[in-house]
Symmetry: C2
Subunit: 193 residues, 2 copies
């Protein structure tokens, strides 16, 4: 998605440790006009897939998912990060490792909001090592819902998440795939095609 | 806002301890069509106030704020919940007590995204004891921005948050104010006018 790549080139900041900061427009401050264009692009990619629910994870996925959901005209469910595993059986749960924050946590979704009747599109802002996305896929699978695919805003193509999830047979559509970042010059190189 | 009150009466669940669960349409599963109507109502209330930024707090405020921001055509900034106080001076920070979760945490906003040029509308899903809203107001004040007011989806009118924040001179517009909930019958009574 060219508009997105241009914005990342203009406002994205390359930091030490292969960190890409896009907090001025995507995941701290959010440009809702850009999110609208992102939502339209996800609809274009998945419009034939009879999506009836969008699943995301708190926090930064929520805004992107809600705006995209307006184009699909479907509800959003967001998985919550939980410190203690719910033991009353009312939730689907999955374990996720955050490499950014150096910790492991459980994510949960109420069983009321995911089930066999659902055709789920997962939406998230980043795909890097793939732990969050793998956890979300597991929630969908456990619920008996159909996983239509995953729509990702920015994929770090030099990390293993994309291969991992696609290798499990999940359709992953990333609107911008970063192949390489130069920490010295700040240049960002995208995968073409 | 009558549409919202009807929805709360229909799908809201009154739980022990004066808990109102609206997780089927507002803060776990989200009805984005309803959020669109909520956004339009916030615009109607604040359209003369030259809002140029919407501030909210993760997680459940984000979807509401992003959809409202489309009507205002302004960016959203969401305050992050942080376990450790950032000490490098790059963020505004405030302490918030969560009565639901029984803990105290810091909220932070990067200094890059709030400043004297901003006219800020705060948006959040709930107002109860008012600690989160008070924390957000403090962030705005510390940044030198102008606080236009706060748009709240559901205010628990029988708790002290509304009086507390209005008593500080902040304009608070709540789309539904719950005056009383009957835990026996599940009935919800709204303030009129």
């Amino acid at each position: 998605m060219e508009l997105l790549k241009e914005r990342i080139r203009k406002d994205g900041l390359v930091k030490a440790g292969q960190v890409l900061k896009v907090d001025s427009f995507l995941n701290h401050q959010m440009d809702v006009e850009l999110l609208g264009e992102i939502g339209k692009e996800f609809l274009r990619l998945f419009q034939k897939d009879q999506v009836n629910k969008i699943l995301t994870i708190e926090a930064s996925g929520i805004g992107i998912a809600c705006i995209a959901a307006q184009y699909f005209q479907v509800p959003v469910v967001f998985a919550k990060k939980s410190k203690s595993k719910n033991i009353d059986g009312e939730v689907f749960t999955s374990r996720v490792e955050s490499f950014t924050h150096g910790r492991v946590y459980d994510i949960i979704v109420s069983k009321k909001f995911l089930g066999a009747q659902d055709r789920v599109l997962i939406i998230d802002d980043f795909l890097a090592k793939g732990s969050a996305l793998e956890g979300l896929c597991k929630l969908v699978k456990d619920s008996g819902a159909t996983l239509v695919g995953a729509g990702i805003v920015i994929e770090k193509g030099f990390q293993e998440g994309g291969s991992l999830i696609r290798g499990q047979g999940v359709r992953v559509e990333s609107l911008a795939i970063v192949d390489h970042m130069d920490e010295e010059t700040g240049e960002i190189f995208f995968r073409e095609g």
